[in-house]
């Protein structure tokens, strides 16, 4: 561990300790709990900021702890980690704020926020993991800490959703364990390194490496919601909205996509993977998922379910980017990690606002919400347009790079898939926007709460507005040196560089 390595466990502990303390708070200590939550998120934000600062100046960070014989628990901050950890930390802060507002008067808030903090700890651990075993540890911890969030409401549907969630994720975990153990058998302790670590094995173990790749994709693909492993995601919609937003924008699904990125870039190395011939099937699965998710989203009337299938589709853009050889595609995929996160979280915040304020859960009930809740709907609109790929918003940047990258790599069919997907996105988002803005609201909303002058609770309003602003900024200021795009270009340069 080098001198500055302490910042890494610090980032983890800021949410872990918060969670542990919150577990023991009594239900009634609202203010203490809220303050602790925000304090933890704030401290984490500051530490991550310091980390960014250090990385920018060329500082390295690493930490190792004894774990299994010959294999330490290793934390590190390379370019990929920093991308993911910054995203999760930033979004965690706003999701916490949102959750506090959303769950007012809900039971079991101490339990909820305790596991919420653990979930973020696990996600941060996934981001900062410097070797495959550490990744696995936090990956499984994520499963364990998100289950109580999914079943939080305790209703029979929630329990059912939780069971299905566990069946999928634990099953995937076991496959991943097999893959990790097997790879260690072949290659010894596997640290993440740009351009991969298995180059030397290709000659002797070609077949095995291909099977291993499949196992890795199966194991991680569950969380990344690759078709046909996505079945748990729509069922997990029984969770409260903050959980859905967290699961979909930040934690579980993103962790899955991040895992695939790690495997392709930092374990196999994208060029080695291309030579092994495993990228093409992956691209195909990603393409299929993109279309499948979009098509199914069209048929959902329940808003959260529609957004769930949209996530299934959109996360595969990241996988697609990883599966195409070439820096442009890499940039497109990685930057979508950030863009999809902020866009989707905004959408879920919006959906949560509609449900909480008006009792509206279905698209068919959304007529005229724009008039009743203009700010929320504005945020929702921005995010939706971003998803469709309307310039100059974030989503447009992604699609541009992916398209360019695909054509450069000679995979024109991908460009077609992307175009189709944009069309489908429009097909399932535009009607919502039309209803919201241009149709007359009903006489009574299903279940209205009034919040005084503001259209809804201020905490429920702040979060989506901030994230929507980010969607605009990430798109408009993409070419500046402070955008997610700039960072991603750095990563790509290191992966493909001389």
């Amino acid at each position: 561990m080098n001198v500055h390595g302490w910042i890494l466990p610090g980032i983890l502990l800021s949410s872990f300790l918060t969670g542990m303390v919150i577990f023991f708070l009594s239900e009634e200590s609202h203010r203490l709990r809220t303050w602790l939550n925000l304090l933890g998120a704030g401290v984490k934000l500051i530490l991550v900021g310091a980390l960014l600062q250090g990385i920018y100046h060329g500082q390295g960070y690493s930490l190792e702890l004894d774990f299994l014989p010959g294999i330490p628990l290793a934390l590190g901050a390379d370019a990929n980690s920093v991308l993911f950890v910054t995203l999760s930390t930033f979004l965690w802060f706003w999701t916490t704020l949102y959750a506090v507002g959303y769950l007012e008067d809900s039971p079991h808030r101490s339990r909820f926020f305790g596991f919420f903090s653990l979930c973020v700890t696990a996600t941060t651990g996934i981001a900062l993991a410097a070797n495959l075993v550490t990744f696995l540890v936090f990956y499984e911890l994520l499963t364990v800490s998100t289950y109580p969030l999914v079943v939080h409401r305790g209703t029979p549907e929630a329990m059912r959703g939780g069971r299905i969630y566990l069946a999928y994720t634990l099953g995937g975990g076991v496959v991943l364990l097999l893959a990790v153990a097997w790879l260690h058998q072949l290659a010894g302790p596997v640290m993440f390194r740009e351009r991969g670590v298995i180059e030397g094995l290709v000659a002797a173990h070609r077949g095995e490496l291909r099977v291993l790749f499949l196992l890795f994709m199966l194991g991680i693909g569950v969380k990344a919601a690759l078709v046909p492993l996505h079945g748990w995601l729509p069922k997990a919609m029984v969770a409260p909205a903050p959980v859905s937003s967290l699961l979909h924008a930040v934690a579980v699904v993103k962790a899955g996509a991040f895992g695939i990125v790690r495997i392709v870039y930092d374990v196999y190395g994208v060029e080695t993977a291309a030579r092994l011939g495993v990228l093409a099937p992956l691209a195909f699965v990603a393409g299929a998922t993109i279309l499948y998710g979009s098509v199914l989203a069209l048929f959902q009337d329940e808003l959260k379910k529609r957004l769930a299938y949209s996530t299934v589709s959109q996360v595969s853009y990241i996988v697609l980017g990883a599966a195409i050889l070439g820096p442009l595609a890499t940039i497109g995929g990685l930057v979508h990690l950030v863009h999809q996160g902020i866009m989707k979280i905004t959408l879920f915040f919006g959906a949560g606002n509609y449900a909480e304020t008006l009792g509206v859960h279905r698209v068919s009930e959304l007529n005229g919400v724009g008039r009743r809740m203009p700010l929320t709907t504005a945020a929702f609109t921005i995010a939706a347009l971003g998803m469709i790929g309307v310039p100059p918003l974030a989503g447009y940047i992604t699609k541009w790079y992916l398209k360019k990258g695909a054509i450069t790599a000679g995979a024109e069919w991908v460009a077609l898939v992307l175009a189709l997907s944009s069309l489908l996105n429009a097909a399932y988002f535009l009607p919502i926007l039309y209803r919201a803005w241009f149709k007359d609201p009903p006489a009574h909303w299903p279940h209205e709460h009034c919040f005084g002058r503001l259209e809804t609770h201020w905490m429920l309003l702040a979060a989506p507005l901030v994230t929507a602003a980010l969607v605009v900024w990430a798109g408009v200021f993409a070419e500046s040196s402070f955008s997610p795009l700039a960072w991603v270009k750095l990563i790509a340069a290191r992966e493909y560089g001389p």
Partner: protein, 492 residues
């Protein structure tokens, strides 16, 4: 010299405590506490001696083998003693508040007999782990059996007595099989000392029969499929602290003897058939035990069947450690798993005891919302379940990882499938119970409040089961001392 004293105290301390508790029932708890502290101190002294000066040998009465009785502290022995001390210490804390709420004469009786028997059990275990010849192992095994059997009968009810009788009727003939094996070994080799046998043993019909008899007896006492049928009723009907002792420690005694026999004394006789056979039985045990655990209506029975399943993992060590390459990984993995299981299973039984006392029953379907009243116990159950299901970073995971690595290194991929499948099954039956922690239900009956000690002992042990995974390097290094030659160790 110091080590000899430490070993003597380890055996005689709890024994003296038992005698004292028998003679002065009123002072039972205090004597137990004193004995526990003494034993733990002696263990620390012994451990330090072993770590700094290597394997320690003590010849009782100055008579050396083959006439005398040797006590030996090597890495494995110290590890087993440490696990014993940990679990026994936890039980010493848990038992007083557990037995307290029982009314009247029945309660006083039960607690009165608990302490002498418990201390006697502890002494027998310590003696067993330190013994160096197979006859002394027989004696300590029998002592262990007597204490365990009587502890099960403490509950006094019909179910407990029947289970006890069944346990006794399996345990006694099993010991006799073992003894017959000892006789044949002595007839063939003229010695019963493990180290001397290692030098003398050669393949031959007499030794094959002897080992078959001994293994058969020990396998029955260790509840390996298909001789496991006595375990669930016995472990389920005993009082919670007793169940913990049984599942975590008592069944590990015969297993320890099996390890010593096959890896130290008679490695030459371990053919692939034997190793794979034991492994196969272990695999069946994992599946059978897990499926039955899923089918149970009562919590304690579920946990008891879980023991049957988890013991199966321990027998996977045989085929994996029998192969030179990767054998050391498997040895480490199996023993780490043993430690993990001891902590986790104790936590589970203690939690079950808590639930039983708070709710008055242990029907799984009736657990809804119970954990809202017992959040600490629920959390303990969750953590222990984490280890059982082999989720990282628990020690259960570390043990399984090592076994998995060994099986992949040796190309014995079928054991890998068993290990992974077993994890999923374990997760299934753990979640069956834990999901009730989250269901929203108004409690029908008002639960009785529990002393904090009961809940917190369970939690600490569960946390240990998980935390040991992060601190596994220490115990694994310990195992190197005096490790069997066949695994590449330095030997006796």
């Amino acid at each position: 010299m110091t080590a000899s004293w430490a070993m003597a105290v380890l055996v005689l301390g709890p024994l003296g405590g038992a005698a004292g508790a028998f003679a002065f029932p009123k002072g039972g708890r205090r004597l137990a506490g004193v004995a526990a502290v003494t034993a733990v101190l002696a263990l620390l002294v012994l451990a330090r001696e072993v770590v700094t000066n290597g394997v320690q040998l003590h010849r009782v009465g100055g008579w050396s083998a083959p006439l005398g009785i040797d006590l030996r502290g090597d890495g494995l022995a110290v590890l087993m003693l440490a696990i014993t001390a940990l679990i026994a210490g936890a039980v010493t804390l848990y038992a007083p508040p557990y037995f307290l709420p029982l009314a009247g004469a029945e309660s006083r009786d039960r607690e009165r007999w608990f302490w002498p028997l418990f201390l006697f059990l502890w002494s027998a275990l310590n003696a067993l782990f330190l013994s160096r010849d197979i006859f002394n192992l027989y004696v300590t095994l029998e002592l262990l059996g007597f204490a365990a059997v009587t502890l099960v009968a403490l509950a006094g009810k019909r179910e407990a007595l029947t289970a006890t009788m069944r346990y006794l009727l399996v345990s006694l003939p099993a010991s006799l099989f073992y003894l017959m094996g000892v006789a044949l070994v002595y007839g063939q080799c003229a010695t019963v000392d493990l180290s001397l046998l290692a030098a003398k043993a050669e393949r031959g019909p007499v030794l094959w029969v002897a080992l078959a008899l001994m293994t058969g007896g020990l396998v029955a006492k260790a509840a390996l499929f298909p001789l496991h049928f006595w375990l669930p009723p016995a472990h389920a009907s005993a009082p919670a602290p007793v169940s913990a002792l049984l599942s975590a420690l008592v069944v590990k005694g015969p297993y320890y003897i099996l390890l010593r026999l096959w890896f130290e004394a008679f490695p030459a006789l371990m053919t692939p058939a034997v190793a794979q056979g034991l492994g196969a039985l272990g695999a069946v045990a994992i599946v059978w035990g897990s499926i039955h655990a899923l089918m149970q209506a009562r919590l304690k029975l579920l946990v008891a069947y879980s023991t049957v399943a988890q013991l199966g993992y321990l027998f996977l060590l045989f085929p994996l450690a029998a192969v030179r390459e990767g054998g050391w990984l498997a040895w480490n993995g199996g023993l780490l798993f043993l430690a993990a299981h001891a902590c986790a299973k104790t936590a589970l039984f203690l939690t079950a005891g808590n639930i039983l006392q708070a709710a008055g029953h242990d029907r799984i379907k009736g657990l809804d919302g119970m954990t809202q009243v017992l959040p600490v116990s629920a959390f303990a159950f969750g953590l222990a379940g984490l280890s059982l299901a082999g989720l990282p970073p628990s020690s259960g995971f570390a043990g399984k990882w090592l076994l998995l690595s060994a099986s992949l290194a040796q190309g014995q991929w079928w054991w890998a499938a068993v290990i992974l499948g077993g994890s999923l099954l374990a997760a299934a039956y753990v979640m069956r119970v834990l999901s009730h922690a989250f269901t929203q239900v108004a409690l029908a009956t008002k639960p009785r409040p529990l002393p904090a000690v009961q809940e917190w002992t369970a939690l600490v042990l569960a946390a240990l089961a998980v935390g040991l995974g992060l601190a596994a390097q220490g115990p694994l290094d310990l195992l190197r001392l005096g490790a069997p030659v066949v695994l590449g160790g330095a030997g006796p």
